[in-house]
């Protein structure tokens, strides 16, 4: 399969479309947790109940009138599931489940409904750039459409009832994925992360383990789901995100002023590594991709598309590399594959820039 065709199939709309504030905000995700009021939660439900829930869901989704396609977990191969996880379309938990778990996906992959994950239903909307309000509106609209034919577990006092008490109330998790190299280079993140916590929000790296944030990519999301309206939750998050954007811009400006040539050097060294390396580990790839993306934002690099970070952070994950290769790869083989995929992808931009044909 050619890289171009692979990309066409692999890249969801949120990965390569430009959204608002996309120089810093890569994507916005809204998730609503919902359950049926008659069946036990997935923690303890029986096989029959799981199947009944999935069936009730099927009826509700079909009536709701959204063009969504159902993928059943039991029908998917391990690698296929892994790719869906890497694209953030399903959670690792859902991928583990077999039985009556499934995901409903839209063509653009901006909507995904997970069935029988931790909750009976998780509505997810994934938009490019900073679009909290738009994504929330979409999710609530889908929620209304499903509720017409599905009896939600709801309590006047506790709100929407969820399996885990951390989600009860609105069941809403709003998150924004941000690229923050400026704040990392100026060592400000360790000050910002605790500060965010005081507002009922949390910041974490989404790639990499623990506190380490591969590619300087952080996900900022709300912790509190109870006692605030959906609009207030997203409004508060937006407020903090706006401030982080301002600070990130200030940090980038300061870096250019104080050490412009060193920064430019770093950017081009990373670009060189991505363009020409033959073996590259995911950690180094993430670092270089972040540098190159920063270089594009600062105008040092002109002939590379901005979606490169978003796209390649996902496409160079083990699942994708193996899918592209058409089978299992050992770690060393993955590093080789990763290097060649990145080279080819950058080559595409260069040849497009020259007006030449594809590779």
């Amino acid at each position: 399969m050619s890289l171009k065709r692979f990309l066409n199939q692999a890249v969801s709309s949120w990965m390569n479309e430009d959204g608002p504030a996309s120089e810093i905000v890569l994507s916005t995700r809204i998730r609503l947790a919902r359950n049926h009021n008659r069946y036990a939660f997935p923690t303890v439900f029986t096989k029959e109940e799981a199947e009944q829930t999935a069936q009730a869901m099927r009826t509700a989704v079909e009536q709701a009138g959204y063009p969504l396609e159902e993928l059943k977990m039991q029908d998917l191969q391990g690698l296929e599931k892994r790719v869906l996880v890497e694209k953030h379309l399903i959670s690792p938990n859902l991928a583990e489940d077999a039985g009556s778990s499934s995901v409903w996906l839209s063509d653009q992959e901006d909507i995904s409904l997970m069935v029988n994950e931790e909750d009976h239903l998780r509505i997810q909307c994934l938009f490019p750039g900073l679009q909290l309000k738009e994504a929330l509106r979409k999710a609530l609209e889908i929620d209304d459409a499903i509720e017409k034919h599905f009896d939600y577990a709801f309590d006047e006092n506790f709100g929407y009832l969820t399996t885990c008490p951390t989600n009860v109330g609105t069941g809403l998790r709003a998150s924004v994925m941000m690229h923050l190299p400026g704040l990392m280079m100026t060592h400000q993140m360790n000050r910002i992360i605790p500060a965010i916590g005081q507002f009922g929000l949390v910041a974490r790296g989404i790639y990499g383990e623990g506190s380490e944030a591969l590619g300087n990519i952080f996900q900022i999301s709300n912790q509190t789901t109870l006692g605030k309206s959906e609009e207030d939750i997203t409004e508060d998050l937006l407020h903090v995100v706006d401030q982080i954007i301002t600070q990130e811009k200030a940090a980038r400006e300061a870096l250019v002023k104080s050490s412009g040539i060193q920064l430019e050097d770093r950017v081009f060294r990373s670009y060189g590594t991505l363009r020409y390396s033959r073996v590259i580990e995911s950690k180094e790839a993430a670092k270089c991709l972040s540098d190159v993306r920063l270089g594009i934002d600062l105008g040092f690099i002109e002939n590379v598309s901005r979606s490169i970070l978003n796209e390649l952070m996902i496409l160079t994950q083990p699942g994708f590399l193996q899918q592209y290769a058409g089978g299992f790869l050992r770690p060393v083989e993955r590093d080789i594959r990763r290097a060649s995929l990145i080279r080819e992808r950058l080559e595409m931009d260069v040849s497009k820039d020259k007006g030449g044909s594809d590779l």
């Binding site: 923690t43 690792p92 709801f154 506790f158 809403l172």
Partner: protein, 155 residues
């Protein structure tokens, strides 16, 4: 190329990714200091609380950090506020969206409590004429709520 290996590899990746120790935290959250434990009379009683729907006990819930079914919330109603307070910045009552179709009287009840706040501020400002209109609105809404409830009980 062996497809089984690829699949195995894929599944293994999925499994070690779910390391989320929330349940440990939750159990810890409630038993922060031994002093609090002694002072809380509910502590002894809670072992006997059991969900009427799925038979999960409150202690089991604390251990796994997850509820068994929607009825757990009803069964553990008295025990939950301190937990929810800690998890949700002091909040215990839902302020967000109501389900459009099932929301029923809750929509009206919310409206009534909003109107009550308005009524109070109007009285403070001595806007008695407007206050009277609001009062009438509240009365008619309350009547409606009572009517719905009566109807629901009969059916």
């Amino acid at each position: 190329m062996c497809e089984v290996c690829a699949q195995d590899k894929g599944e293994a990746f999925m499994n070690d990714d779910g390391a989320f120790s929330f349940n440990h935290l939750l159990a810890g959250l409630l038993n922060v200091s031994p002093v609090m434990k002694q002072n809380q009379p509910t502590q002894n009683r809670r072992e006997t609380v059991e969900c009427s729907g799925c038979q999960m006990t409150f202690d089991q819930f604390l251990k796994i950090g997850k509820f068994g079914c929607p009825k757990c919330y009803e069964s553990f109603r008295d025990q939950l506020p301190p937990i929810l307070k800690r998890l949700h910045s002091g909040n215990t009552v839902h302020q967000g969206k109501l389900p459009e179709r099932q929301g029923g009287t809750i929509h009206m009840k919310r409206k009534v409590s909003d109107l009550r706040v308005e009524l109070k501020s109007l009285i403070e400002q001595e806007e008695f004429e407007q206050a009277a209109t609001i009062r009438d609105q509240i009365r008619s809404l309350e009547k409606e709520i009572d009517g719905e409830r009566g109807g629901a009980d009969e059916s």
